[in-house]
Amino acid sequence: MSEVKEMAAKQERQALTGNEAMALAMRQIEPDVVAAYPITPQTEIVQIFSTYVADGLVNTEYVPVESEHSAMSAVVGSAAAGARSMTATSANGLALMWEILYIASGTRLPIVMPVVNRALSGPINIHCDHSDTMGARDSGWIQIFSENAQEAYDNMFQAIRIAEHPDVLLPAMVTTDGFIISHGMEIVNTLDDKTIKDFLGTYKIPRNLLDVDNPITVGPLALQDFYFETKVAQADAMMKAKPVILEIAEEYEKLSGRKYSFFEEYRLDDADVAIVVLGSTAGTAKVVVDNLRKEGIKAGLLKLRVFRPFPYEELKEALKHVDVIGVLDRSDSFASLGGPVFSELRAAMYDMETRPLVTNYVYGLGGRDIDLHMIEQAYRELLEIKETGKVDQYVNYLGVRE
């Protein structure tokens, strides 16, 4: 680690909100085009970015549009024309982009979009949960979750490189937890503009609409004879993103000294019981793990960073020694077999010779606070399951009134 630190670029220690950190990352990326609809449920990210445009700090074409559907449509157009293109959204805004999310991925356009995770109405709610992003899990976008403002900042640059990699060419969303991270101020260590520019390189996609010497068709009709193949090609590109994600994480670690992978393992090596969780709750759970370890309880944590592509082989390997796993989902699938992280992880473990027992906790919907006591309660229940060897209930609602 000390060697890495010596190699790391000089960094500035700043107090920033998650939104400020992501807007700063966008300034350093300096995309050619940003399109956004400037009203709730849009985020402060593009609002801050628009001041950079107005102040002449970035050479970006800023396109104010009339809806989120139009924002995504505009960046699909500019990305197809060969411009590095970004937008940002949240909650119902992402829902309104739905149709065009699939067109972006199906057209293989490496658009990068910060998503501030907030609940979907109704009833009307503006606080954190993952229902917005989880609904888009089959839209063909890479999905990278962040625990805090630092990770949100770091993930933005890596997402650009992953999305634009010639083996991948897929759009990517980088998420943070609404309000908890987006509006909370924390310490963020930032890299200088030149280091970022060198890391990102020049935007280049193999084909674009404005390359008149090599004309192409974008968005053609592809019926029974070709549609299926394009979808399999997308699935293939998503699989190919896996080694690219690791390769770019390693390169970024050399600049920043900060290590990234598909997930972070926290005191997991010798854990008897473990929680798997996305986003900011992982930070709170780390404190619970430390407290339980002081009591001699072998508690561990796995914080999932990359949800698409879903790293099922690596997850199985990391969790195979654990006796009981509790998967925390901040979204529900309403009478499916648990939330999305739970059902996918549980399915991935089906063919293991010795399977951990696994149960699901749906928590924090609409921003319901998840505190140390609730997470500790979940760990204590995992210990009970370890004793009895039996999972009585697949889906538990954590922190809800009975």
Binding site: I181, H183, G184, I187, G283
Partner: protein
């Protein structure tokens, strides 16, 4: 600082409780601390009760849940007395600073504050801000009072960082910057304990 500090700010929409927590966090960050500042968001409107929070530590902070047991509480509006229990969750040896013209001895019975280990301070932050800034915006003097009552930062550290932050925001209004710094200094001097 041996352990993590938690602060809760109570105010009404428009009084600057959120800004107070941000300025506090930035001042602590400037001297190398790890910090968090986050408001409690709801249907905010001018005059409605709002709360805002800080965590300050020498070590990185990973907690991302709400603050339940703040050691320090700053109350920007004394008209909350009787309607909002801003003593909730305050542990032994905690500190509560209230913006009021009354003394701590006069305030204590009104709060039904029976825990004698909790120290009560008062300061006329409205009066100070009216004198120094020309408007009753009690947030910056309350930071000064809280810093004096708790020793969480040095006064000079606070003034230096606040000056930098305000210079960015009020480039064209130097009188606002000086007024705020004076308000912090005066509240630091005038805050009364029991």
């Amino acid at each position: 600082m041996a352990e993590m500090l938690e602060i809760r700010w109570h105010g009404r929409g428009g009084q600057g409780a959120k800004t107070a927590s941000l300025l506090m966090a930035e001042a602590a960050a400037a001297v190398g601390k790890y910090i968090q500042a986050f408001p409690e968001y709801g249907p905010e409107r001018m005059g409605a009760p709002v709360a805002s929070y800080n965590r300050i530590s020498d070590e990185p902070i990973t907690l991302h849940c709400s603050v339940e047991n703040p050691q320090y509480v700053a109350v920007l509006d004394s008209t909350f007395v009787g309607s909002i229990d801003f003593t909730a969750g305050v542990p032994d040896n905690g500190v509560i600073v209230i913006n009021t013209t009354e003394t701590p001895e006069e305030m204590r019975p009104k709060l039904n504050l029976t825990n004698d280990t909790i120290r009560l301070f008062t300061v006329d932050a409205n009066g100070i801000s009216e004198d120094c800034i020309g408007r009753a915006i009690p947030n910056t003097p309350m930071i000064g009072a809280l810093v004096k009552a708790t020793g969480v930062l040095e006064l000079e550290e606070l003034l230096e960082d606040t000056k930098v932050k305000l210079e960015k925001k009020f480039r064209s209004k130097p009188e606002i910057i000086e007024g705020n710094l004076d308000a912090i200094r005066r509240a630091y001097e005038e805050v009364k304990g029991e």
